[in-house]
Assembly symmetry: none
Homo-oligomer: 379 residues x 2
DNA sequence: CTTGCTATTGAATCTGAAG
DNA sequence: ACTTCAGATTCAATAGCAA
């Protein structure tokens, strides 16, 4: 078994294309069984992102009744019972160790929980060398009230997003998140409704799973921290929200699940999920991934003549464009960035937005010329 | 010393009236020195509530500059430096052990932190036998942005509220909280602005303390979980927000603080604090903010599928919805507002009223979908 | 006195590819 | 593993000053 796993890992590193991935990884399938054992069958460093919704260890007391006398359907399943915090910690370390082995160097992991378990999970993540990137608050738009009036209404859950290590070059689709949030940076608190209505899966008229997560939550997680074609693993698959959203978003997925009844519901659900087509899947790209244009290219191709004057917005500084794309301001010379930084006495400067020109009677940053150049060069 | 402490504890249990309390407890005073040593001088089971704002162990890297080149004034104080997680844990266990000894059987403790430290604090609290009652999210109305676009904006801090044990008959003023929240149960997420403006204490023109907490936060904590005349201890007193609010609410307080400069500011501040009348309370506690709806939220939650077509009223322009909530019209992409403006050649555009969809056989502005979404999401 | 513009600032684990 | 350098990147609130 171990030899097989190693061979698979080699294959994956050697040629990570689609066919190879499908051959060495059981992609888009549910692995039936204990998640730790199932993870052991997968090769090292093969997973891009892990989403985990482990048991919360809720420690509920007796039955809970609403003020009208009706019974509250609490999470009382065996899988949520642990004899002690120590037992829960052992369980957590075991599945996280496998998760860590499976993650690629630049991969990241999400874990969701409540105050019952999330502090233990977070501390263990840190102890194991994961690097916390954010803690995210899912603020429930419609939480269950605190019927007895003994505490604050528990109206949120916490997600931890962590990279495999401090050095990981993790995926974060900043532009897509900013777009999704009406052109403001996406914050660490997310307002989303809980999973109910049509979305809530039923079996024989009752809820198929006690803690089904809303697809909107997974949608945001996956859009933010994976790319198309990435492999997402969910060790506690349940009714397959992760798989359904992954399929819609063009990501590959692997799920681990013990309970036959959940697997059955999940398979049916994912079967029915429709993948989005290419154009709908596209997201706003960050400038970082855009093709680079050297300032010199604008000079070469005549968008800006050598000898032209550029200046900062307040016209405190003026410089002359030289034939090689460098700038000169009195005795100082340098690149658009370097000279801008030098003149301001700043550690760095984005010359594209710092320097301006007069173009068609208007003052514009030279970045505007770059945009025009790019449009002209395309096709 | 130990004998004296025991005698004090006896006196306190025997006759816990005001005069005795003042004789055996250094009430309404700042204890100058290391918090663990200072706590050792106080008698067992003498404190009703502890509010602690310990160092967060931020582990910051190098300098950080804003996009405009200005410098971010980070927390670089020695008191926030620890050599490792293990060292931080040891420190945490030590001060929490004293805190636990000082707490009355039915007392409770609040600890505030960020993802850097709060998971460790929470796990240690549980290991020591404290019983977590809620984790509370302080959603900052005006957090510092993520200047480099590398993560989600860190827009909240976490508070843990725990009783001394599972059996504690802790104080929770349910009615007061409900009144404060417009007759709705107070939730576990609190929207409050950060401490700035007039409230932010200055010394020689610069902030007196790098991490001063807003009084509104302490106000809610104390109003919810203490009664008038209770003794509140703050082991990390800083500039004395806890003391100022305690005085205004008619609670007694004890603070521990090492730094002379903080003590000086705190003493002056508390001296000036006046008991506040009830009517002022309503204005200083901000109501729950109506969450704004981003167009992306409609996409995430399935009200509008990626790939759907939107168009202006006269159907001059058509665009396709993409996965991140951006729109695409031929070669152009952008947000609902930005693309609307671009296509019309207008300086700006309200995308909510400009773009329309077909919904239930009718053409409606997408704003109508937003209204439906809000109705569905409201409590 | 009001309105509008600009500058400042807040618990921050804050770049990445090429050489 | 190191350095170098192009160049990407910010939201809300408050204070101060000008009009």
């Amino acid at each position: 078994m171990v030899a097989l796993v190693k061979e698979k890992a080699r294959a994956l590193r050697a040629a990570p294309d689609k066919a190879v991935k499908a051959r060495v990884l059981p992609v888009n399938r549910i692995l039936r069984g204990d998640c730790i054992e199932m993870m052991r069958s997968l090769p090292d460093a093969s997973i891009d992102m892990i989403f985990a919704d482990p048991p919360y260890n809720l420690q509920l007391g007796g039955d809970l009744a609403r003020p009208d006398g009706s019974h509250v359907d609490a999470v009382t399943n065996d899988w949520d019972k642990f004899s002690s915090f120590a037992a829960y910690d052992t369980f957590t370390r075991e599945w996280l160790a496998e998760a860590r082995r499976l993650l690629k160097t630049d991969g990241s992991i999400w874990v969701i929980g409540s105050y019952h378990n999330i502090f233990r999970v977070g501390a263990i993540l840190q102890d194991m060398g994961f690097w916390i990137l954010n803690d995210i608050i899912w603020r429930k738009a419609n939480p269950m009230p605190n019927f007895k009036g003994t505490r604050f209404t528990n109206a949120h859950e916490t997600l931890i997003w962590a990279s495999k290590s401090e050095k990981s070059k993790y995926t974060f689709n900043y532009r897509a998140m900013k777009t999704l949030n009406d052109e403001l940076q996406m914050r660490s608190d997310w307002v989303l409704p809980i999973c109910n209505g049509q979305e809530r899966l039923k079996r024989n008229g009752t809820k198929a799973h006690p803690t089904q997560k809303p697809e909107a939550l997974l949608y945001r997680v996956m859009l933010a921290t994976t790319n198309k074609g990435d492999v997402v693993l969910d060790p506690f698959f349940g009714t397959g929200t992760t798989g359904a959203v992954a399929k819609r978003l063009g990501r590959d997925w692997i799920g681990c699940e013990r309970e036959d009844s959940y697997i059955e519901v999940a398979e049916e659900r994912i079967e029915m999920a429709l993948p989005l087509d290419e154009s709908a899947l596209a997201t706003m790209q960050s400038k970082r991934s855009a093709p680079k244009v050297a300032f010199g290219a604008l000079v070469e191709s005549g968008w800006l003549a050598p000898g032209a004057k550029v200046f900062d917005k307040k016209r405190r500084f003026t410089a002359t464009v030289r034939a090689d794309g460098s700038l000169q301001a009195e005795a100082e010379t340098g690149s658009i960035h370097g000279l801008g930084a030098k003149l301001q006495g700043a550690p760095s400067c984005n010359g594209w937005t710092f320097w301006h020109v007069e173009h068609e009677g208007e003052v514009k940053p030279i970045d505007a010329l770059r945009q025009l150049y790019l449009l002209a060069v395309e096709d």
